[in-house]
Structures are given as C-alpha cells and as structure tokens.
Amino acid sequence: MPYIANTDADRQVLLETIGCRDFAEMWQRSQVVVPEPPLANIPSGMSEFEVLSKLRRLAAKNAADLHIFLGAGYYDHIIPAAVGEITGRSEFYTAYTPYQPEASQGTLQAIYEYQSMICRLTGMPVANASLYDGGTALFEAMMLAIRATRRRQVVVSEAVSPIFRTMLHTYSRNLNIDLIQIPAGTADSNQRQLLNAVSDRTAGVIVQYPNFFGTIEDWEDFNAQVHAKKALTVGSTYPVALALLTPPGELGFDIVTAEGQSLGSHLNFGGPYLGVMAVTETLMRKMPGRVCGRTADAAGKPGFVLTLQTREQHIRRENAMSNICSNENLCALTALVYLACVGKQGLVQVAELCAAKAAYARELLLAIDGVEAVGGEAFFNEFVIKLPGDAAEAVGKMIDKGFAAGFPLGIYYPDRKDQLLVAVTEKRTKEEIKALATALEAVL
C-alpha cells in the first residue's frame, strides 16, 4: 500500500498488543458502528509513473508559450532558480507551525526576516507573518479598522481591484457593516468624491496604490484629510512597484496590504498566494494573523518565537481578532528568498525594467489606428487603452494568435467594455512587445 510502512506481519503484532482479532473488532471497540461508504466510483490506485504520466498529459492541455500581458493583480515575473531550491528543502516544507520554538528556529527566523523585509519595503513599522492572499488581507484590514475605531462604515474606491471588492462584499453580508463604494474617475480613484463620503461614522477608507487601472496617485494629503475625520487609511499595494515608489508608510497609511504573489511565486492558477499586512505601532496589538518576535533563551542566546498569541483563536475563541488560524508560511519564505536574491539593487532593476517596458508598449499600442489613451500620466507597469470595438472580442482574437493581451475591463466595469488593462513585466522582450502591437493592429 502506498505510503503505509507496516506490513501484514507488523499489523498482526499491533493488533495482538491492543487485543483485537482484526480491524472489524478494532472499529467495534472504538465505537465506529456506522455503515461503511460504498466508494464505488473511486478508481483503483495507480503507480507513481502512471500518476505522473496522467498529470503530465493534463498539464499539456493547458496554455504553453503564451505571451502574457495580463496582470490585474497577478504578474508574470522572473523567478530566480535559488528560490525553489530553498523552498524545496523539506526541513522547511514538511515542518508544522512553529509551536515548539526550540525545534523550529529555521521557520521562526525566516518569518522574522520576512516581516522585516515587508517593513523595509512598505516603510511600516510592524508586519505579520502573512495571511491567505491579498483579498482576505484586505478584508482583515477592513475588520481591523472597524475594531480600532468602533465604527461600522467603510468607504471603498472602485479603483480597488474588483476581485478583492467582490470578496469584501461576500464577507460583509453577515456582519453589520455599511460598505460604501465610490465610483472611479477615468483612470483615477476620484479622491474628492472619496473624501466627501468620509464622515464621523467612517471606520476606514480603502484605496489601491497603484490603483487597479495602474495609475499612481498622491495619497499624502488625502490620508491627512481622512485622519482629520478620525478614520483610518488602508492601502492595497503592489510590492514590486514599491521598489520605485514612495513607500506607503511615508504617505500616512495606517494599514498596508498586498498580494505578494509577485515576490517570487508562480502564477499557479489561483494559488497558493500571499497576503501581506503591515500596520502602524498603534495597531500592533489588534492586528490579526501570526507574528514572530525576537527574544532570548535561558542562556541569553537570541532566538525567535511566535508571540502576541493572546489575539488568536486558540486563546480567545469567539473573541479572537479573526478566525484566521494560518499564515501562508511557505509563500512568505518564497517572498523572503526572492527579495534576498534580487536584493537592494536588483528589485530596483526589476521595477525599472517593468516600468520602461510598459511605457514602451503603451507608445507602440497608442500608435495603432483607433487605439486611444485612458489616463496614463503616471503609471508603473500597467495602463488602460481604449479600443475601437469590444475589448473582450479583441482579446479572444489575440488568444488565437498566442497572446494574453490584457484584461478586458468590461468584465467588472459595465461602462468600460471597450477598455483593456495591459501589464508588462521584466520578462517581456522588446520583440514580444512589438509582436503584441503588430498582432493587435491586425486584429482590430
């Protein structure tokens, strides 16, 4: 039997020791008296070779060699070979949550270093050990603002990822939360309307930086004005962009969240991903999720432990800060090793390549007859263009030519059916970008 070490002879000895004739008697003694399920439609097991062959065939049925200009929060970045080498070490991936710190200093120091990396990147003083993904991190940020202010209204910009906003909506249905969504401008977050919506009932304002359309906006004044009304500011961000952009911690954000997939994780068709959260000093003890702290052992040697655990469910049960029990530890390790590999200069170089290639791509695309700009005065590596016809239809034709040309905004924004969100990373060559423009011109 696969992965079961004991033989029939071993089992005989064990059964004798516990005083049972056979398994039937064992189940009986353990009071498992309910009927067995038939399991008729579960096939017989296969050998390792056969399973791998089958899965290779399934993998081959998926896209191969697609030129990816599709982002919308999930980006096709270069992943250094060293990353997989470390995350593939089974001392890391077959370990449990580090509740026995003396036997888990590897995991714990890695978490501490990851938290430190996030603080350095975002300019915030405190980060947790990660949450499930960028969307649940944003929900947890919303709940944190509500707990901290004891107010129940939240203002969200529609320039925040619609994928995340859908999740916010799902989680809020059963809670007494007043979620106000403010429509976006052409490619901006419509800061004026957002501010108008903030009152003394507002717990927090949620914005995205750069926003979902790729636009970079000035948040410093905005955040100051929100603070004047005693509400908190939440910024959902793109970690690679922070290599170039003013860190959110210097702009007055109280809570910073992000989808961390872009830091060394594959696209992975939906997960696993990485929820990043960082907060101000004031919010530290209300922050959800695991957190690792540095301390000393009985002999004065430095070491690491999970800490501030009285916030968590195993202690506070229904009074816990959230129901989140887990982090995405291996994904946090991935991000850590990625950031160590690319390093201080390397991440800047990644970001510069992304930004330059995106600017170049936009230039070529706007040169196509009928393609128009939408916003675009300030963007990182993602921008919106307006096509002469339906963007979804154009994208379908581009798929045929081997391009994932972008994200048709009409899927989530009904009045933007002719708009396409295009992302460019350091992985896209000049030739690919030229080919994209040529193909799109042919298709339109």
Binding site: L14, C331, V337, A340
Partner: protein
C-alpha cells in the same frame, strides 16, 4: 552556531541574481515626485550567501522528513514527493488565474479545470456529499465558508431567528471564531464522562433560535461519538443544520462518509488527511462539501463538466454567497491532493483510516499505564494522555515535550483539548512504522522514569537544540517584530 540575520550578511554592491539588460528606451511613466528617495534596505548578498544562509536555517528545523512528528490533530503524515514533482509542471505553474475569464481562454486551461473538477468528485464520493467547493484556502477558511452557507440557507428561508451556533466545549477555537465572523452567537455544549456530546445538554439548547451544530468528527479527544447519527437527527428536527469539522478525517478515511450520517456540510484539510505539506504553517486548503440543500449557496465560480466532456466555469448562480477566495482555491495544493488520491485509489484510501487508528491504539495501550486519561477507552487516530501524575511532582506536559525534542522526536500536541489537564495528544498517522512507534514509546517511558528519579534533568530540556527554552513573556511584553 552564530545567528546572523540575512541583513547582517553581504556587502554593498553584491547581487544574488541576474536580469536581462534593458532592451527598450529607459524612459518610464513614473514621475519624479512619486519616486522613493532611497531604495528599500534589502540585503546585498550573493546567490551563495543566500543558499548558505537559508540552508543552514533549514537545518535548525524538525520536519516530517527528518523526525517522527506526532502532533495530535495535525496529521503529520508523509508528504509524497510525486506530488511535489506534479506541482512543478510548468503547464500548471505558469497558468494565469484570469485566463478562463478571457474569451477562448477557457480552452487553454482545460487540464487545470479537470484537476479541480475531478478532485471535487473524488471528495464527494469519499465523504458522501452532493457537491463541493475547492475555494477555501485553509481549514479555518473552510469552516468560515461552511458556516456562511448555513447562514445563507436560513436567510433564504426568511428564518431570521436562527442566530445561535451550538459548539461542544472540546472544539478548536477556530469553530466559535468562524461562527462569530458569520454573524452568529455561540452556545457551548458539554461533553459527558464518556467523552461524547452530552445529549441532555444538547436537547436543552435546541430551539427555534438554533442555526446549527458544529461537530468535530471524530472529536478533539480522539474519540468517535457513537451517538453521531442521533445528534444529527435531533438538530435537523429542531430546524438546524449539521456542520462537520473534518480536521480528524484521517481517523475514518475510507471507513466513514460523514455526508451519509446526517451532516449537511463539512470541510476537510488537504494539508492533513490528504498529504499536502504543512509548509511550516501554510499554504493549505480547506475544501467544503455540501448536501443538496446547500448546493445553491456554494461560492462562485464553479467548475462544471459539459456534455461534450469539456470543462467550464459557471458564474451566474443567483443564490451563491459570492467569492470567498480570489479564484478557484489554492490550485497547487489541490493538485497535490489529486495526485495523492490517484495514487491511493479506493483500496489505498480505505487502508489509511485502519492503519492510523491501529497505530494510535498501539501507542495508547503501551503508554497509558504511565499517564492519566480523561476517558479510558479505545481511541481513534490519536490518543490523549494526561501528564497529571507527573505534574504532581513538578514535571508538566511541556517539560516532557521538551525532553522528547532532545531525544530526536517532535513533541505531540500539548494542552489541547482544553478540557483535559496537562494534555498530550499523540497522532502517529498511518505512514509511520512499528519500529518508529517503539522508539518513541521507549523514549517517552524513559523520560517519565527520569521525571521520577531526576526531575531537574527533565526541566532543563531541551539541551541539544540551537536554542534552549525561550523567554516568551519578554517577547510579548516588549515585542521586537522586525529588524529595520
């Protein structure tokens, strides 16, 4: 061994990886006023620095691949390497999650959609349910989803009074936390002397305000409650629904299908019973299976199989609770669990529960004479022993655990469930051999004897690890959470 952070290593100008040269004009659309004044203070290390630093760190860890790891309720079974190879296939790793939402994009993700669909089908068959969602990203996330489905069900019937979720006192803390996040209040139900749900206490609390019951089955004491079918009937009769916390499914893998016992909704942990790695604390997955009455409320999008054998995603489900994850779930984890179920097949899955329970009962019979037990009866896949005899002499469950570390074993779960004093919850899993169990038994007995003759020696443990016992009070009082 000198403990350096990665930030303590390297030199200015060092780089760990190379990037392609700039092949387009360097001009960007990032205005100067939005730029950082100085780069983020990330390390400047070579690739060798990175590899040495993290390889050395990894060697400070215990994992299933290096040590017997009998953490009760965590199911630390062997993580098959086939699953890791499968999850690395570029046809899976390079797939953008939004591809199926692009016209003609669905055709480029058929292999991935088949993996998700088939995993759903296998789980439904194995556990006795009508349908399934793979979206929940962890066990607690699955719990939350399950409870939200129950909330949606009552809301759809206009049953506004059903605000209370019944939860046994032995339950894991995530149960009441999930109920709270779904807008419910909780009512604790007592456990009787036999370790089962106190039926009288349950009946007392059933009423028109009952939304449902959350039951861990087998329960957190490692016991199978023979009243389970009656409990489910009682809750249904009162108008509530039954949620099964499947964290302990390994005990009854192939032997019990909770959907056939009266449970309306259940979650399992792929990183427990289905062999996907724990990762040091994630990523996991907590798929949720439902009976017919809850199918309309399942999250979107849903993977479906057309008559022509192709796969598609359905978004327009009017009564769905919405998206609880950004996409289809943790695909990389789902893929590993699928590989596992393909490898085991019907027969292999049936053997899991049997061997897990046999191993745990063997440990119980050998170790029980040295400990107390809250309930002295045959267990399921884990046994709960109480170190109260040792505690009387000043050696607590925690001390026994630390002594095990020195002898090369990861300790069992300590102090859970809360209703057992000085608890040690030992779950060997089916993948461990008889000789490993014997080594563990001998080591623990040796420690218990040492606690009698030389308690100080036990209290000093661990002595062989990279650090000794750590000051957790200090860590909480003066938090040092980052090096900046």
């Amino acid at each position: 061994m000198n403990m350096k952070l990665i930030f303590d290593r390297g030199q200015t100008g060092r780089r760990g990886s190379s990037l392609p040269a700039m092949d387009v004009p360097a001009k960007t659309a990032v205005p100067e006023r939005f730029c950082r004044k100085t780069p983020a203070e990330l390390p400047e290390v070579s690739e060798q620095d990175v590899i040495r630093h993290y390889t050395l760190l990894s060697r400070k860890n215990m994992g299933v691949d290096t040590n017997f790891y009998p953490l009760g309720s965590c199911t630390m079974k062997y993580n098959p390497k086939l699953n890791e190879r499968a999850a690395e296939l570029p046809g899976f790793t390079d797939l953008h999650p939004l591809l199926p939402q692009l016209r003609l994009g669905g055709a480029l993700t058929q292999g991935a959609l088949e993996v998700i669909y088939e995993t759903q089908r296998l789980l439904c068959e194995l556990l006795g349910f009508a349908d399934c969602t793979m979206q929940p990203l962890a066990g607690a996330h699955g719990e939350l989803t399950g409870v939200m489905l129950i909330a949606a069900y009552h809301k759809a019937r206009g049953d506004q009074a059903r605000k209370v979720m019944l939860i046994p006192d032995a339950a894991h803390g995530t149960n009441p936390a999930s109920a709270m996040v779904s807008g419910f209040t909780t009512q604790t139900i007592a456990t009787d002397a036999a370790g089962n749900v106190d039926i009288a206490d349950l009946k007392k609390h059933l009423g028109p305000d009952t939304a449902g019951l959350m039951l861990t089955c087998p329960n957190t004491l490692g016991l199978f409650d023979p009243q389970v079918e009656e409990i489910c009937r009682l809750v249904h009769a009162a108008g509530g629904l039954n949620y099964c916390d499947g964290a302990n499914q390994n005990a009854v893998m192939g032997r019990v299908g909770p959907g056939l016992l009266g449970f309306d909704v259940m979650h399992v942990n792929l990183h427990k019973s289905f062999s996907t790695p724990h990762g040091g604390g994630g990523p996991g997955a907590g798929p949720v299976m439902v009976g017919e009455c809850l199918v309309p409320y399942l999250p979107v999008s849903r993977v479906e199989k057309r008559d022509d054998g192709t796969y598609t995603l359905r978004y327009n489900c009017r009564d769905s609770i919405g998206y609880i994850a950004p996409f289809y779930g943790n695909f990389g984890i789902i893929l590993r669990a699928y590989a596992y179920m393909l490898t085991l097949g019907r027969e292999g899955l049936k053997r899991v529960g049997e061997n897990a329970v046999l191993n745990a009962n063997y440990l119980r019979v050998k170790l029980a004479p040295y400990f107390a037990q809250k309930v002295d009866r045959p267990c399921m896949h884990e046994c709960v022993l109480s170190a109260t005899p040792q505690a009387k002499k000043g050696v607590h469950a925690l001390d026994l655990a630390k002594a095990l570390i020195d002898r090369g074993f990861h300790p069992p779960t300590m102090y859970f469930p809360l209703i057992v004093p000085e608890a040690l919850m030992i779950e060997p899993t089916e993948t461990e051999s008889r000789e490993t169990l014997d080594e563990f038994i001998n080591a623990l007995i040796e420690i218990v004897k040492l606690a009698e003759t030389d308690p100080e020696a036990v209290l000093a443990c661990p002595l062989t690890t990279p650090v000794r016992r750590l000051d957790e009070t200090q860590a909480a009082r003066h938090p040092d959470l980052a090096s900046v």
